[in-house]
Symmetry: C2
Subunit: 430 residues, 2 copies
């Protein structure tokens, strides 16, 4: 639309020049008519834009023209202590697909301070069965299309877009640099970003986000939707404190569908705007609870759409994790145990003194409790093998992954049953 | 955009006329420059439109240009037997606000056959904290803005929009007529619409939808989000078979927030795009499961965002319901009991013969079982008073509602505590 405004301005000056050089009345009448057409067009372009102006301070005033009245009402309702703090936070979203784009729109409409968007893909008609992108954006990069839509929705949000693939060497470097760029950060406490949301659709990209966050001691949230479109999950990962993505095989919510029909190379994954919208909603809700400190932040939440079943669980780090940065973070976390114990003790004593009317605003939202480390380790060892009903491991452990994918690739390349049978026999003979 | 195209065409003909009447070379050069500007503008307008053309048949072909490939993949994955059937269905959405608009977009992107949209309200900046509407649509009716956005997203969907208030006498008449208009229905089996989704934000409008659906024997789904923005629910209502909206006081998911801060006249309700997006996603997911016959359709599903808790329950009709049409439907349902029993028996016998590998595609999705009516009534009487953990009644029974709202209004009109105290004393003295 900016291009149209420039063209129209230039056209007015062309008309001015022409009007000066011509003198006959009929030409003058033509030029006046054309001038009024250009003015009409300018008005149409401006009305089509209708962008709202920036808002300096979030107001709680209850008027139709206030885009933040229904959010600031969360304070009056006693849900959030200080909603306006949301403007201090920077959130990075990796993957602007069916989940990431909706998560970005939700955070934009909530008035988040700054959003960093990462994707290398382009918008296609095949993406139109999910929310957010519009058919007229086909061919644009997802990052450009997202910036276009989001800046129209809320010009108060600072948008940074990175059209790159984080799994490449150069992409990873830019990714790391952008996450730690203090110059762009909105709050002086922040080391760059306050939270990373992974909304990618493959294991490799998740492992890259995991590596970056383990190295940067960066808390992040994982999200995923199954290839049959009817289950999904979100997961909170705090390096050293919770399991990292390499600590245990990734969990998926069992959909009841034969797993053999999934995960085949070249098979087009199914997707639904409903499942992706629900997962994006749960992810951003967890983000708001984490950033604005209300409710209970979920460590893991699954969604089985066929049964409307939502399993939850907690995962502690694996002391034998294959990720070196994770092991470092685990050591650091152990070293801060005396501090955490003292804080927990002080908190318990404080609570014993003051009457707490509601259990909602507990600061200790991670349910950290003073237990002996050995005892906890024993408990972990038990729980690591026992999953809640409806949850299954998506993949074997990270160590085994590479060996198995090599086998899988061999199997997948089989064109017919005979070939497959031969290959299986060969594998068994090893 | 159509207006701009016309203006630009007219401008080209103006330039042609001027070019013919003028002969000096400098004017000619000016006119050529202006012509190229108009051509640029036309190209910009056309690229800005980029509407996709209609698609005659849903194809499963896996190409980037196929807007339905990821939906048709649900068949290949074994989730849905016949996805394309979605084009035969008509769904009515009452209330195009934070939940209804997102539900409409999801169904549009899923390629639903026909959508009927009802709302009387206009788009305001104060709605921008929820998904769907854009700032440039402020001042438009919600129905007009929705039709604009939805027809751009998927021109295959037949959209009917009704800018009216269903709680007025005339609005109710138009509402009833539109639901039963067989002429517009897409399938010869249908009596008009296949499902009504209630996405309104008040008790009165829900009771009107309830009345209409009880009279028309129309299955519908209810949805709601609490005024503190952190809980919501969806509910399936089949006249005569399940509880109607007047059978029991409406249920809300307890958020743990002091209920006294809610439901006060004049208090601006809080809202979040996350909660509304999740509720819309669960509602449309239930709609897809109901229409396309997959998974288990949820009779009631709550969402507590603070705890990520999702209570479920079933509600049978109340034989003492205050709604006369509901009682008629209950009688009719009782009369068809022998048929249902025979069908259930036949089904059980069939299942005993055939090996069923998966429990997903059970036709008997309402969990109807052959039990003695008296026994079931006893069980209902017990369960009606016992609610699952986390669910509370939002209002007293429909009978008591009118008396209590009169009292409440008296209390709400109190300007200060003194006045409130006097009124409470007067009420107690009754």
């Amino acid at each position: 639309m900016a291009g149209m405004e420039i063209e129209l301005k230039e056209m007015l000056s062309d008309l001015d020049n022409l009007q000066r050089s011509l003198s006959d009345p009929s030409s003058q009448a033509s030029l006046i008519k054309m001038r009024s057409r250009v003015e009409n067009l300018t008005a149409l372009v401006n009305s089509g834009q209708g962008r709202r102006s920036k808002v300096k301070d979030m107001s709680a005033e209850v008027v139709d023209s206030n885009p933040y009245s229904r959010l600031m009402a969360l304070q009056r309702m006693g849900i959030v202590d200080n909603y306006e703090r949301i403007r201090d936070f920077s959130v990075a979203i990796v993957g602007i697909g069916g989940v990431g784009s909706v998560a970005a729109e939700m955070l934009t409409r909530c008035g988040i301070g700054r959003l960093l968007l990462y994707d290398y893909d382009k918008v296609e008609l095949a993406n139109m069965n999910r929310l957010f992108f519009r058919p007229e954006q086909c061919g644009m990069t997802k990052t450009d299309a997202a910036v276009q839509t989001l800046s129209d929705i809320n010009p108060d949000v600072v948008l940074e877009s990175y059209t790159l693939n984080i799994t490449t060497v150069q992409g990873f470097e830019t990714f790391m640099a952008s996450l730690t760029n203090k110059a762009n950060s909105l709050s002086k406490d922040s080391t760059g970003v306050d939270l990373v949301l992974s909304c990618v659709d493959n294991y490799e990209a998740r492992m890259v986000v995991n590596q970056a966050c383990n190295e940067l001691k960066q808390t992040w949230m994982e999200s995923g939707v199954s290839e049959d479109a009817v289950s999904g999950h979100i997961q909170l990962l705090i390096p050293g404190e919770t399991a990292c993505f390499a600590c245990a095989p990734p969990l998926v919510v069992a959909s009841g569908v034969d797993e053999r029909t999934l995960k085949r190379e070249g098979v087009c994954a199914a997707s639904l705007p409903t499942t992706m919208g629900v997962v994006a909603g749960l992810l951003v809700q967890n983000t708001l609870k984490y950033l604005l400190k209300f409710g209970q932040v979920s460590p893991y939440l699954g969604y089985n759409a066929l049964k409307d079943y939502f399993p939850t669980m907690q995962m502690r780090p694996n002391p034998q994790c294959s990720n070196a940065a994770c092991l470092e973070r685990q050591e650091e976390y152990k070293l801060t145990k005396p501090e955490r114990d003292a804080a927990a003790k002080a908190k318990m004593e404080e609570e014993a003194l003051t009457v707490t009317e509601s259990a909602i605003h507990l600061d200790n939202e991670w349910n950290i409790c003073v237990v002996d480390d050995d005892e906890q380790d024993k408990k972990d060892a038990q729980t690591r093998d026992v999953l809640p009903e409806g949850l299954v491991h998506e993949l074997p452990t990270a160590d085994e992954y590479q060996r198995l994918t090599a086998q899988e690739e061999a199997v997948n390349s089989a064109d017919d049953l005979e070939e497959l049978k031969r290959q299986l026999e060969a594998l068994n003979a090893d």
